[in-house]
Amino acid sequence: MYTLALETSCDETSAAVIQNGRIILSNIISTQVPIHRKFGGVVPEIASRQHIEYVMPVIQEALDTAQVDLQEIDHIGVTYGPGLVGALLVGVAAAKALSFALDKPLVGVNHMEGHIFANFLSHPELEPPFLALVVSGGHTQLVQIKDYNTFSLLGQTRDDAAGEAFDKIARVMGYPYPGGPQIDQLAKTGDPEAIIFPKALHEKNNFEFSFSGLKSAVLNYLHTEEQRGNRYNVNNVAASFQKTVVETLVEKTMDAAAYCHAEKIAVAGGVSANSALAEAMETICAEQGYAFYRPEPVLCTDNGAMIGCRAYYMALEGHFADLTLNARPSLAITSY
């Protein structure tokens, strides 16, 4: 069975062809990151303009690379939220047109569920149930994956996403967008104990996150040092900030794993590419006897393949969308 999947929720235009849900035949990603870097972050109108320009070429390339004819496709998956509305609409409109034109069923996919399902592509042996920590520029969530179509949201961020804090702090320190990889790099040679930053919602069995206080604390530190005319050590700031985020994520994930008796833990989303997070999760999972999963780096970022994997498992159970499918910028995790 072949799935054609489209992803245009933010700043990557991507199309993929997936075989039987798990095998990536193609995963074409046209990134706009260098464009948005000039503006210090994603500009929604520019993102939408790039999507309408590149959506058809990436579909063509995905089919060509997979050596699958459009007629052989069994169903079409598309991200319909969460994300930037104008960006989502391009993918949704294109996917609906293909679905109608070819009489192929349409599957509307939740972007965050797609991130979680990226783990199935990187780890053929992985099966539900497991606990997923989803961390990206827009989201921080702990989700229990009970089976392929039943999820339970244990908690999410009340304010800023973890990735948002990374980007903002990097920008204030003068590093280009996206800031996450920059902080990761800087932190490698910094002292994580140099500065103590606060952790929020520290109590046991509270699976909600809050990173706005931490973000403000780091920004305050930077501003205060600047005002005093001190040159702060960027490596130490990055390392101390990153350590605080990683510890918070790890603590809450372990807490949640015990709470829902998980045996497997997976991370997903753009921030799961962070080396400190991966290392910390790997270590603690090994110590406490959990199997740990993380998608390979290319599948941590936004991509069509993960959307195709999610779409396949929805299609197997007949969860199709009709031609009225609309973009849903703040779509929540859904169970069927």
């Binding site: 520019i46 303009r49 109608f100 499918l325 609309n326």
Partner: protein, 236 residues
């Protein structure tokens, strides 16, 4: 059979044209979202007109200027259909398609598309000897300025497009040579779009579904601000 798709404004309009017969046209102004409406409208129209998908051999789409989001929904849909059915696609500038609402008119046609903040995308056309001539290509300017220019030219003008709603009174009271098109002709309609596209199709002047993009006529605000701030030209 040519399928035409018009979503550049609040009007949702789709049409089928075949052998100079308008087989169907569905035009709705109900302030509903294009995203939810467009595909169901196309599907409904085909069914009600007893037209099979495989009968469609070309697609026309309105490329703007107009609502950025509306244009992208229309283009993504039209490009997807063109790609899947392997049929030619033709992008028509929205004001040109609107001038086709007035085939053979004696007056000049001024199309005003709302460009926000008192501005309009203005263009002027004239029919003579059975052909459409561009008198003034699309420019962004304040509504008052285009009215002044046209008044000085001393020609009869009929106005259409959603840009007239902001200046309705000014147009009607402005100059005895000015008139506003009736409700059936003041809006962009897929039937007229199809007619405009047919001329290009006959000349084999077609676009590519891989590269066709909206004709925004205006950069994003972020780009304009960037250049103001940096004092240099921005290349994306």
């Amino acid at each position: 059979m040519l399928l035409a798709v018009e979503t550049s404004s609040l009007v949702s309009s789709v049409a089928l044209l075949h052998d100079n017969i308008l087989r169907a046209e569905l035009t709705i102004q109900a302030k509903l979202t294009h995203s939810e409406q467009l595909m169901p409208h196309i599907a409904d129209m085909l069914e009600k007109a007893s037209v099979q998908k495989q009968d469609i051999d070309s697609i026309a789409v309105s490329v703007g200027p107009g609502s950025f989001t509306g244009l992208r929904i229309g283009l993504a849909t039209a490009k997807g259909l063109s790609f899947a059915w392997k049929v030619p696609i033709i992008g028509i500038e929205t004001p040109v398609s609107m001038a086709w609402n007035f085939v053979g008119a004696a007056a000049r046609i001024c199309v005003l598309v709302d460009a926000q903040k008192g501005n309009v995308y203005a263009s002027v056309y004239e029919w003579s000897q059975g052909e459409l001539h561009v008198i003034m290509p699309v420019c962004i300017m304040p509504l008052t300025k285009i009215l002044d220019i046209l008044e000085q030219q001393g020609k009869r003008i009929v106005f259409c497009g959603d840009g007239i709603t902001v200046g309705h009174q000014k147009i009607q009271e402005g100059c005895p040579l000015f008139s506003i098109a009736p409700p059936t002709m003041v809006i962009p309609r897929a039937g007229s779009l199809a007619m405009a596209a047919l001329v290009r199709l006959k000349n084999n002047d077609i676009d590519d579904c891989m590269t066709l993009t909206p004709s925004y006529k205006r950069r994003s605000e972020a780009e304009v601000l960037w250049e103001k701030k940096h004092g240099e030209q921005l290349c994306l």
